[in-house]
């Protein structure tokens, strides 16, 4: 069941990422929707599953959007899944501020790691502006908090319906 939810989450994230790129391409500079399944799995399940989900979503992103380095986003999101999964296992971050901080830090580290890896593979990198990083962190944090709140509400209502059905 966990695999099905992961596939659904990654598929939906990819679809929304492509829609965002079509209708509001400027927003893709600040939000990375493909990090959402990774953070959701890191905060709610195990470190291993968040790594695998991160790797899968990153590779999909690479296939559709990365022009040269296939595997770049996969690698970055695997590392992020490992780090966030480790933190999520030690602290209870499944509340608004925890989700916000996780989303913001994932968005920032994602940008930093991508820049470093691009430089490692001989690409020219543009200077990163502090203002755009700030906007990215806030936008990413808010988006993550909002989406995970909706997902957990949906999860709670499903659980309640299942219990009611069982009682009936």
């Amino acid at each position: 069941m966990i695999v099905l939810w992961a596939v659904l989450g990654i598929g939906l994230s990819l679809a929304f990422e492509l829609v965002l790129g079509r209708f509001a391409p400027g927003a893709t500079r600040y939000v990375a929707l493909m990090t959402l399944p990774l953070v959701a799995y890191a905060l709610r399940t195990s470190q291993r599953s968040s790594m695998v989900v991160g790797c899968a979503s990153g590779l999909l992103e690479d296939y559709w959007i990365e022009p040269r380095l296939f595997g770049l986003n996969g690698l970055v999101k695997t590392i992020l899944g490992w780090a966030m999964g480790g933190i999520g296992a030690r602290f209870d971050l499944n509340n608004f501020w925890g989700r916000f901080a996780s989303g913001a830090s994932v968005h920032l580290v994602d940008e930093g790691l991508q820049t470093a890896l691009r430089r490692l593979f001989g690409e020219i990198v543009a200077p990163v502006g502090v203002a755009s990083l700030g906007i990215r962190a806030v936008a990413g944090g808010l988006l993550t908090a909002a989406v995970l709140a909706i997902v957990s509400k949906f999860g709670t209502s499903r659980r309640a319906t299942r219990q009611k059905n069982r009682k009936a």
Partner: protein, 285 residues
Amino acid sequence: MAAVSSARANALLLGVMTFAQLLLMAASVRGGMAASAVAAVVGVASRPAVTPERTVSGILLDVVHFFRDVHADEIENVKLELEVTRLSGELERTRELAQENTRLRRLLGMHEDLAPKSIGASVVTARLAGQSRVILVDRGATDGVRPDMAVVAWGGAVGRVVSVEKGFARVRLLSDPNSGASGVIARSRAEGMIVGRGGEPMEMIYVPKYADVVVGDRVITSGLDGVFPRGFGLGRVTVVGEPVGASKSIRLEPEVDDRAVEDVLILLEPSGTRLLAPEEPEARP
């Protein structure tokens, strides 16, 4: 004990996945078969998510266009009436200039530029991040698109095809930090290289420090890079910096707004880049 072994197992898994993906990246840089095979598998796996997305966003786009067009048509009508009057006068002047241009071209013995052979494409999605600025277009290998073809839009140059799949192609925009195009100032013919700076304005480098460049000058493609035919707009000069060494630093406002590109032309033949044939040596008596 179990927690420690689980942490170790996860660290080991991370190591293996990192190594595998580093190999994948190295292979993709070299254009290896392994990277293409993995990419093909990922592409097939993601089709179920992308196919409905394309259908839904296509319908949404049609609805948005319908309402936008109705509003725009009314304004456009008034504008067009004024424009027709103005263009009638302009047409006369252009005819004169065209005749003069033909005469001068013949005089110089230059080749006539053919209209570049091209196909239209729609933008499927875009990624305008700081370090990677790329668009996906709905034409691919089956339509004759190949890597390194120039992509232009109404108004000017957009970017270059970097990789092609069966049904779509990835286009690296001119504003990407790894993009470059050969440009020339339309007024003074000073040449330079246009490079992207991510989200920041584009830069024109290698312009000699004594070159005549002022704010507002239009920069067009020179055709010397072998990708873009000459004459496509690149941008307008917004800042002329102090010379550093032998060259000036020039900032450009792009001619085509990356965020507003919806339809593009992929140039299948860069016919404008043909160089003049070498002159025949004069026969000696």
